[in-house]
Structures are given as structure tokens and as C-alpha cells.
């Protein structure tokens, strides 16, 4: 990977983040009525309206408002939620760990399980197991996340009783340390599997295609001819080169994963950012909704850049046009 590419790709973050800022700013002013009402809701008191007017500089000319807004956002100041009576950042940070745990677990799970599924289908020469797994992957890819979650609750939590139905830990439990971690892991298992399912399908399909191509290539045939064990051939000669496009999918789908987390949190009553976003939208608590949107948008954009850099590092042919 050339440094020039890295620098330019990172520099490209600036216009993208600026566009996100501008889009959210425009929405505030496109909303019907007084922008302070759009931001603060209709049930605030005079003091709070005054505070928000001041915070967003709503008395200033539009271009100065934009600068004030950009300054606020870039210093992670998203204002104060009237509904909760607290700064947006405090509320968001409080919920962030639960969501990070859920999405992190799902990302790890989808990578491992997706690769395994891809290798399994690509190396079967008989059609039945290949077709079965391919069919399952195709179905997972088309199934709505909330439906998978609801079915998982019906079958595995309410039905078999293997998993808890809701929440992140057993209510009223005062377990600490290892016992607490085990309890959280038990609650995490089902939501993480459900959230990972679509990514498993995506990673699996891509690995399968890439590996199939590699396994038919000359250098793999050569490795086989040398008498190497099939597992060595697949992992060392096939998978290594098939991995590069998989990396782009894993990184590029962080956005899907975060969006899926919102749904999964609602299905499983997981106390993260997603549920905060949904309840805040329903109560028109705009400062929180806007804060979460900006946080997610920037995260996704940065994740894409990191992905591109990893890809360029794996495949030196990548050049910035």
C-alpha cells in the first residue's frame, strides 16, 4: 500500500463528514415551523427553548448557524435532551457499551461462521450439501432481522427454554465478576446470532465464489499435484487469495450491522443505543436522534476507510485514481 493512497483516502473523509453535517443541518431547517420547535419538541419550557436557541445559534444568520452547528458537533456537543433533562452525549455514552458488545460479538461471529460456511460449500463436490447450505444462506440473506429474532425467541427461548427472552442480564441478580459475565453472555448469545445471520450469509456467499475460482486455478492444481494435504491446499493456497474481497464485505457491512442492531435491540429488549434511538424518535426527542445519527454516520464512514486501507494493504494493485 502506498502512503499516497492512504493519505488521499483519509483526506476524503473531510468532504464526506462535511456532507453529513450539512445534510443534518438542512433537515433542521427544512422541518416545518420554527427550527427551535423542530429541535426541542413542542412540550419544552421557555427556558429550555432559550437554551437551545442559544446553543444552536438560531438568532444568528444562517451561515453562522451552520458554523456554530459544525463546531458543536465536531466537539461532540449535541445539545441537551428535554425529555431526559440531560446532555445528549451523556445519555448516548451510557448506552454505547451494550451496543458495542452486541455488534462486536456479531461481527466476530459472522466472520468466523461465514468463512466456515463458504469453505464448506466451496469444497463439496457433491451437490446436495452445497445446495443445502447455499439455500440456507440465500434464505438468511432475504429474511428480515426482526422475524429471525421473533422466531428465535419462539423456538429457542420460549419453546426450548435454552435462552432468556429479554434483556441483558437476569433481573434482580446481584452476581458479580465471572458469574455476571456468564449471565450477560447467556443473554447475548441469541441476539448476537440473529444479528450475525445476514452477515454470515453475505460473507459465506462471497467466500464460496472466491474460493471456487481459486481452487480451479493453476497454482492450486500445482499444489495438489505436489501431493499436499487437501486442507493445506485450501487454507494456504486457496483461502489466502480469496480473503481480500471478504475483507471489504466485513468492513463495508458495519453499516448494515449497526442498523440491524437497532432492530435486534427492540426484539430482545437489549438496553443499547438502538432502543434509545427508537424511543427517542417516538417521543420526538430530536437532539438524541440527531446525535445518534451523526455518531453512526461518522462511524460507518470511518469503517469504510479502514476497510479500503486494509484491502489496499492485502492487494497492492489497488491504486487511487
Amino acid at each position: 500500500m502506498s502512503w499516497g493512497y492512504a493519505v488521499r483516502r483519509i483526506a476524503q473523509l473531510i468532504p464526506t463528514v462535511a456532507a453529513i453535517l450539512l445534510a443534518s443541518f438542512l433537515l433542521i431547517h427544512l422541518a416545518p415551523g420554527d427550527p427551535v420547535l423542530a429541535l426541542a419538541g413542542e412540550h419544552g419550557d421557555a427556558e429550555y427553548y432559550e437554551f437551545m436557541r442559544d446553543k444552536f445559534g438560531l438568532d444568528q444568520p444562517l451561515h453562522e448557524q451552520l458554523l456554530t452547528y459544525a463546531g458543536n458537533v465536531l466537539t461532540a456537543d449535541f445539545g441537551v435532551s428535554y425529555v431526559r433533562g440531560r446532555p445528549v452525549l451523556d445519555v448516548v455514552l451510557e448506552r454505547l457499551p451494550a451496543t458495542l458488545l452486541l455488534t462486536g460479538a456479531a461481527l466476530l461471529l459472522s466472520t468466523v461462521a461465514g468463512l466456515l460456511a463458504g469453505v464448506f460449500t466451496a469444497t463439496r463436490r457433491s451437490r446436495v450439501p452445497d445446495l443445502t447450505v447455499s439455500g440456507v444462506l440465500l434464505t438468511l440473506y432475504a429474511a428480515p432481522v426482526f422475524w429471525l429474532g421473533q422466531l428465535a425467541i419462539l423456538a429457542l427461548a420460549l419453546g426450548a427454554g435454552w435462552f432468556p427472552v429479554q434483556g441483558m442480564s437476569t433481573a434482580g441478580s446481584d452476581a458479580t465478576g465471572l458469574a455476571n459475565a456468564a449471565d450477560v453472555a447467556h443473554h447475548l448469545a441469541l441476539p448476537a446470532i440473529v444479528l450475525a445471520s445476514q452477515e454470515i450469509a453475505a460473507v459465506g456467499r462471497l467466500t464460496r465464489v472466491g474460493l471456487r475460482d481459486e481452487l480451479d486455478s493453476d497454482h492450486v492444481r500445482m499444489a495438489r499435484a505436489k501431493g499436499l494435504a487437501e486442507a493445506t491446499v485450501v487454507v494456504k493456497y486457496g483461502l489466502r487469495r480469496a480473503l481480500a474481497p471478504v475483507v471489504t464485505v466485513i468492513g463495508g457491512r458495519v453499516g448494515h450491522l449497526v442498523a440491524g442492531a437497532v432492530i435486534v435491540e427492540v426484539v430482545f429488549g437489549w438496553p443499547g443505543l438502538g432502543r434509545l434511538l427508537v424511543t427517542s424518535t417516538q417521543s420526538r426527542d430530536v437532539p438524541i436522534v440527531l446525535g445518534i445519527f451523526l455518531l453512526v454516520a461518522v462511524t460507518v464512514v470511518v469503517a469504510n476507510v479502514i476497510t479500503d486501507l486494509c484491502y489496499a494493504w492485502l492487494d497492492p494493485r489497488v491504486r487511487y485514481r
Binding site: L30, A31, L138, P144, F146, Q150, L158, V258, V296
Partner: protein
Amino acid sequence: MSATADVPFEPAAPGVGRRRGVLRGVLGTPSGLLGAALTGTLVVVAVFAPALAPYDPFAIDGPVLHPPSVAHPLGTDALGRDLYSGVLYGTRTSLVVAGTVGVLVLLIGALVGAVSGYAGRWADDVLMRLTEAFQVLPRFFLAIVVIAFFGPGIDRLVLVLGFTSWPMLARVVRAEVLSLKQREFIAAAKAHGASNVRVVVREILPNALPAAIALLGLVLAQVILIEASLGFIGLGDPNAMSWGYLANEAQRFLRVAWWLPLFPGLAILLAVLGLNLLGDALTDILGGRR
């Protein structure tokens, strides 16, 4: 009649013969056939929902939380509303959203892709950077922000999804235009004095669009999933019966009514699967570089 009408550089618009070939190609593979059948069913159900549904989906006229029976094939909800009618009418909402978003996406994607590919140079650079920026924009979250500001509704949902779902299409159209503009019949059209706009609209776009339309199936499948997801978290249009709304209602009765979550989700799965399979089959035949 224009001066170029009698000149034999014919293979511009895909002819009837090619269309027959596409149809045979799609229906000739099991997955293409399944995709076409599912998508066809989706459209038929959406159009004829009022005739097919035995009840008004919002009418309270059955036993409460009744499992599937002859009178209510998919059961009833906590208010005694017929789930079968709800699922049928939900098809309508999904298809209206997907259809209108599809038109917007096709228009914007074709415009951006054609200008980018045909004009080249700085216009291409600017438009492709713009496309990349839109591609990483989290659509689902942007839709939620819009709903937080403007309240739920189909119209704003269509606008948000339409104005954010075009980047993949623009890329495909651009790639097609780039390869088409090197071809001889384009040079021939130019030699006959056709303007740039005419060349793009009459000669290039008709040949670039099939690949874009093939991809449209995959894009609309995602749009249906997003629309349903918004409905599920309670942010759908309250005046329209939708699959997401039904799934949202089901969430509170998971312990007592398995049919409530099962059938709306199954309908979404079949719709998305159908569009994905059809899109894949069309892409295989019509090509399209992503």
C-alpha cells in the same frame, strides 16, 4: 423523420427477439423461475388485494387472538382483526413504496451514471465522489431522522430512500456507458451529426438500462426490508397496513400467538427472496458490472 433515420447502424434499442431471449433465459433456470413466480405473485396480490382479502384489514370483526382457522386462515390479532387480510394489504404498501422508490432510483441513477460515464474528466470525478459519499450514507438512520423531524409517512419515506438508494445503479450505468461509447454505432451516430444529448438518450441509454434494471431488483429488495424494519420499530405510516406494522403488533404477543409474528415475516421473506432471485437471474443474462 430525422436525417439519421435511414442509416443502417441499427443495434441500438434491444429488439423484440432479444426480449424473448431474456424471458426464456430467466424462466429456464430453477432460481430464475422461482424469482419470477414470487415477484409476479407479489404484484398480483398487491393489485388485487381488495378482491382477495376476505375482510377489511383494520376492521375489528373476529374472535380475539384466534389461531389459524377456516374463517381466518392466518388467525386474528389482539383486536380480532384478520391477519390474512392484513398480510394481503401489506403487500400493497410494500410494493407502492418499492415501486415509487424504484422510479426515483432509476431516474437519478441513469442521469448520474450517464453524465459521469459520457462526459468523463472532472464531471466524472465529482459525480463519482458524490456517489461514494451517498453509498456510505446510512439510509436506515437517515430515514429515522427524517421521521423524527417530519413524523411518519409514506411520502417522505419514498423520498429519503429514493434519494439515497441510487449509487449502485449509477455505477452500473456508468460502466455500461463507458464500454458503449467506444462502440462503432456510437461513432456512426456522431458522424451523422447527432448531438451529445441525442447520442446518450437515443443510442446509449437504451443499451445501458437493461443492466441497471437487473440490479434494480436487488436494490428494491433492500428497500422492502428497510420499509418493513421501520414499520417494525413503530415508525411506519400509521394510515397504511404494512408487514412491518403487523410484526410490530406481534412483538407484544409472542408468548400467546405464534401466528402473529410468523406470517408477516414470511411474506417479507418471499418478496425479498423473489426480487433477489429475479435480479440475480437478470444480471446473469443482461450482464452488468458492479
